[in-house]
């Protein structure tokens, strides 16, 4: 079962529908027991960082996410959900994230040259990072370099070079996806990215728990 964490932020209809479409057993939940029993976890999110981070903590879900990330269970943050996995955000002030991925969240404004519209809304191409043997991350095993996915955001993750598994170009290079062990983050919306998005979700659903259980421990080192 896939648990989509419900902490009162965002519209989860499409995410749930897309996973069901793939034939997955999926539940939108804030029940710690269900999340602990899940094979994989998705942390969604739209809206403002400060508000979402506060809700994640006050609902007790931040604690569960931290605990579950350490088990090596596949976990994916989407959009603001991804940004929450990082150490901090400078969206209207300075706010702490979960720190499961090293890096910070900063405005696109200032990174992209003048004339680039904010938010970055629309379909943009993924530039996949490859390891020494030329392989892209397993999250992208069913897609190709240059495939398009759908973005909607005004802030992006930076100082996370070690975790970046894909970038996208918007006047500047913006982080499109990150991974640290089995903790994944997608800035774009796979559930809104047509066939390509579905293939990314399918790949995520095939990632197995990392029995080493080291996930998340590397962050911040």
């Amino acid at each position: 079962m896939i648990a989509i964490i419900d902490y009162g932020v965002g519209n989860l209809f499409s995410l749930q529908s897309s996973l069901r479409y793939l034939g997955e057993d999926v539940e939108v939940t804030s029940d710690p027991d269900k999340i602990r029993k899940a094979d994989r976890i998705i942390l969604p999110g739209v809206g403002a960082y400060e508000d979402a981070a506060a809700k994640l903590r006050s609902s007790g879900m931040a604690e569960i996410v931290m605990e579950q990330a350490k088990t090596g269970k596949p976990l994916m943050g989407i959009c603001l959900g991804m940004q929450l996995l990082l150490e901090k955000s400078y969206e209207y002030g300075e706010h702490e994230g979960l720190g499961l991925i090293k890096g910070t969240v900063v405005p696109i404004e200032g990174a992209a040259p003048k004339g680039y519209k904010i938010p970055h809304i629309g379909w943009n191409a993924l530039q996949l990072k490859r390891d020494e043997s030329g392989r892209a991350d397993k999250l992208f095993k069913y897609i190709n370099d240059g495939d398009y996915v759908y973005f909607v955001h005004s802030y992006y993750a930076t100082d996370c070079a070690a975790s970046v598994i894909a970038d996208t170009e918007y006047g500047a290079m913006l982080t499109a996806a990150v991974a640290n062990g089995n903790v994944y983050g997608c800035q774009f919306h796979p559930e809104k990215s047509g066939d390509v998005g579905m293939r990314i979700l399918k790949a995520f659903c095939e990632i197995q728990t990392d029995c080493e259980g080291q996930t998340g421990e590397e962050a911040g080192k």
Binding site: S14, K117, P119, G122, W123, F151, K192
Partner: protein, 252 residues
């Protein structure tokens, strides 16, 4: 590089798409769900569902159709038509809409833009504006383009963006239905005034009209049309290919 978007708009009344012809492989042309799936396969970058139902019963059918579509089609979905309150936003967002477009509702109650943006985020709020040039000035029209509000259009759009509209759909009454191309001067004026995505609507009659639009206004983000897609005059996959061939960034 971010691509230029092509957006078919489906007018839905009592659960059926109002305009439409037969496509190969599409048995029921007036089924919004089937047409949405068809367009998605053809390469549509986004879909707009426009609710032109007047009755409460029709509303219920509309949201049922929206739910079904959002369970099968995984590209961004904007809903418009009859949006006047936060409850309307809530109703369609719960059924799978990603963005909600307000038009006359914002003219009646401009506060709704800021209120909705605060609740759901700027990215969720689309301000749709019907504009005609009257005595050399762009004016905002209400009630589906029937009523001149007297408001200056560029001011209205600037104000909407300041309040939190994350995207603007600009529909030119002067070119709508004429099929002689988009209203380039008017769209240019809007693009120069705001720094959020602008979607052009009204006037497309053929593939070249879209090419002309994107070449004349590099800042325009998307082209929206209805009947030319439904009547098969322009096939979305042909259009996207023609855009790519012309050097316009397009998702193929």
């Amino acid at each position: 590089m971010i691509t230029k978007r092509i957006i078919p708009c489906l007018d839905v009344k009592d659960g059926r798409v109002v305009k439409g012809v037969n496509f190969k492989g599409l048995a029921d042309v007036s089924s919004p769900v089937a047409l949405a799936e068809y367009y998605t396969k053809a390469g549509a970058d986004e879909l707009v569902f426009y609710d032109i139902t007047a009755s409460n019963e029709g509303r219920k059918i509309f949201t049922d159709i929206l739910t079904e579509t959002a369970s099968k089609v995984f590209i961004p979905l904007t809903v418009g038509g009859g949006i006047g309150t936060i409850e309307d936003f809530d109703r369609v967002l719960k059924c799978g809409a990603d963005k909600v477009s307000v038009n006359s509702g914002a003219i009646r109650n401009p506060g709704i833009i800021g209120e909705a943006a605060k609740l759901y985020g700027d990215q969720c709020v689309v301000l749709s504006v019907d504009i005609a040039k009257i005595d050399g000035v762009y004016r905002v029209f209400a009630k589906g383009g029937r009523e001149n509000t007297g408001m200056e259009a560029i001011d209205w759009i600037r104000r909407g963006v300041a309040d939190g509209a994350g995207e603007i759909v600009v529909n030119s009454i002067d070119t709508d239905g004429v099929k002689q191309g988009f209203d380039i001067p008017m769209l240019k004026a809007v693009c120069e005034a705001v720094n959020v995505p602008v979607i052009a609507s009204g006037g497309a009659g053929c593939v070249q009209d879209f090419i002309d639009l994107f070449e004349a206004i590099p800042d325009i983000d998307a082209g929206l049309a209805a009947s030319i897609f439904h009547f098969g005059e322009v096939a979305i996959n042909d259009l996207k290919k023609a855009m790519a061939d012309a050097g316009i960034p397009a998702r193929l």
